[in-house]
Symmetry: C2
Subunit: 180 residues, 2 copies
């Protein structure tokens, strides 16, 4: 499952431009599937070439033509095939955790800074989740609600863990064990 497939999936919710899709990648999909314009625009071109989406050019003054994409029947078929994987991956790549593995090589000030930045990050996500929930989640498919709830639950777990266990990383207290 790559950016192309996710774009295709987003288009099942209605027509959209690359610019529109980018906003989805930043908000609702942001916590588990990042993508920039450099991935999205080529993905849409490629989908159009394969006939999986159709494209309507809407001329605009001053701005480039707005290109609105719609999923085709072939696109739907393709998407359903892509969703058949019975064990889709769920990968974490964390420079944060890699850094924390070597906390004993760093100054405690540095470690504190890193932990603070991680907590800020989780707070940004939590704010975003609340905002999304406010402006109407009830018209969304159940899967989307499940996914948002997942993001919230995991983010809260991360925040709580970091807050409750950051004392482990102070050199003074080497013998303690993690709070569950």
């Amino acid at each position: 499952m790559d950016v192309k497939t996710v774009c295709l999936g987003m288009l099942t919710d209605g027509e959209a431009s690359g610019y529109d899709l980018k906003k989805h990648f930043e908000s609702t999909f942001g916590h588990f599937f990042a993508a920039g314009y450099g991935s999205i625009y080529p993905a849409l071109s490629s989908l159009a070439e394969q006939g999986l989406v159709s494209c309507e050019h809407i001329p605009q003054e001053g701005k480039p033509d707005r290109k609105v994409y719609q999923i085709t029947t072939a696109g739907h078929t393709y998407l359903l095939k892509a969703l058949e994987d019975p064990a889709p991956s769920h990968k974490v790549r964390s420079e944060f955790l890699a850094t924390m593995c070597f906390a004993h090589l760093m100054s405690s000030e540095q470690v504190e800074l890193v932990l603070d930045s991680r907590i800020e990050d989780t707070e940004r996500y939590l704010t975003m989740f609340s905002k999304i929930e406010c402006d109407g989640m009830q018209d969304w498919p159940p899967g989307m609600r499940f996914v948002l709830g997942f993001g919230r639950a995991v983010t809260e777990a991360v925040k709580a863990y970091v807050e409750n266990n950051r004392h482990l990383l102070a050199e003074e207290h080497k013998a303690q064990t993690a709070i569950r």
Copy 2:
């Protein structure tokens, strides 16, 4: 922070071969930083070329020479620089969540299968964490214990969330909201 830097960090714990490091990437680092031989061996070669590690060739019969790497003073300096990033990233890339966004396009059997496979995955991780804790975590640096605890906490949160909210994805119950 790339595979190279993580390898360098692992070598602060004592000399090791590429093969040894791979095992670390599978066990202790597995839940947040994956790497295969195709990344590790070139990384070590490159580190040696830059003088960040030294390499001892140990001849063996039948097998290729065992190459044991040790971090150098230059390597230590380099690592400390790399650890200075005050806001290291923590990224999730989840085909699982992407799939679940479109659960309404799938059969409930397919959805169930995907959810089961995710739970199995979390269980494998939890077993691994327990095993690691058993064979002596107390001699590890506090950072490593923090990271393992993080992995366990988040994995448990994932498992609980999936178990408690999978009913949201059954088409029958569209109006429900997520259990916190």
